[in-house]
């Protein structure tokens, strides 16, 4: 196991890495999954990570505070989801921690 994803155990799968190695990985939750909106609205923490992800999260949260409409949230969620869709293999720890954390009230 990469981590302890006890809240969403169905989001586990195996994949072939670019180096040709079979690895176990956490699936990227679909764009409709509530965790993405919870991260954007600040209800769910995301651990400090590489500078690109840190800047993305902060800028998305800033945009949400300026425009908290549903349309805006949908667009911001799409950008966050796109990041993990592209780079999920490099951000397994972050994904595990997001999925393993409890949202704030």
């Amino acid at each position: 196991m990469v981590g302890s994803n006890r809240f969403w155990p169905h989001l586990r799968k195996t994949r072939i890495s670019p180096m040709g190695v079979l690895v176990e990985a956490t699936m990227i939750p679909p764009i409709t999954h509530p965790i993405w909106a919870q991260v954007i609205t600040g209800k769910r923490e995301i651990p400090p990570s590489q500078v690109g992800l840190n800047m993305l999260v902060t800028n998305l949260r800033l945009s949400y505070r300026k425009d908290p409409s549903e349309d805006s949230l949908r667009n911001l969620v799409a950008r966050m989801h796109e990041f993990f869709t592209r780079y999920g293999a490099h951000y397994q720890n972050e994904l595990e921690k997001i999925l393993g954390s409890r949202p704030h009230a």
Binding site: S17, P18, M19, Q50, V51, M55, L56
Partner: protein
Amino acid sequence: MLNSVAVVQGKIAAGKSLLLAGEESLLRQLPKGRWIAGTIPYFMDMSGGVHSDSQIFVNEIPACASAVDIREYTTATLPSICLEAPENGFSIVIIPAGSPAHIAYAQDFPRYEEAFLKPVVGWIAGVNVAEIGTRQAKVFTGASGRDSAQHAVVMHVALPRRKHAEIDIVNVFQPGPGGPITFATSGFNVRECRINEKSANLARYMTDSQIDSRLPLTANYNGSIVNVSIQSVDEKAGVVNFYAPVFAGMEYRFAKPVADYVAAFNSALPADGLAAAFSCNCILNYLYAGLEGKRTGNLTGPITFGEIAHQLLNQTLVRLVIRDAG
């Protein structure tokens, strides 16, 4: 590393893809080829910080690169910079200090389509600090032989699937204990702000609190500390000018003083020992910390008027490394 003009001419003739930095008169002697450049006479070389008017700093694009695409961007086309970047790879951008492209990139990058989804690093070209205000920084596009004081130049570099590029920043500054400072509008200069949720004039606050203007404002981006450096404080006019924009809604704090920059820097360097495909450091670190002749780890590159790790940064070292994918 630093090379003579003749050596750089040879590398260009050999068809290498190059990122170059140096005095304008040196860059003008280079033939057309697969290179981009910006003006600056300050560098981190293997021997330490150095000011050179006679040599050009050379970064060779790693041999593993699968394609290189050189483009110029105006303020109108800059928003597509990430869209035009390769799906797997990185982009190096060089922008002349004080140009419309500099202002536009600094203020608008977070809103560019696909911003933060692809690695973008780079730097702001400058001039000898004794010539600020009398000479213009420039960028050069080797592919066309053109130079510009207005536009950005970008080298998009594609990598094979088995490699991926990653950006690190090394920032020795940490937020100090002062209250959070927020701004109602984004920009390179401010008058009013809120400090500890009370209205205040930042210039007056800095004077009254005897804040050392060499210390940047810091903002915490989910654990990455991003600096905005002070260019000038005009107490009479009540205006503070910055080297990068502050953003409305972000919380800033003045940085704690750093007693020994070189020691702090060396302890903050990543311990992975990976060779950087590209790195750059800030002219303010060079000047304020007296880096001439001092080594900062094994990282080399131009010392610049602004560093780019996705967004424009100040007083920060930026490093790009190429790793094996998964």
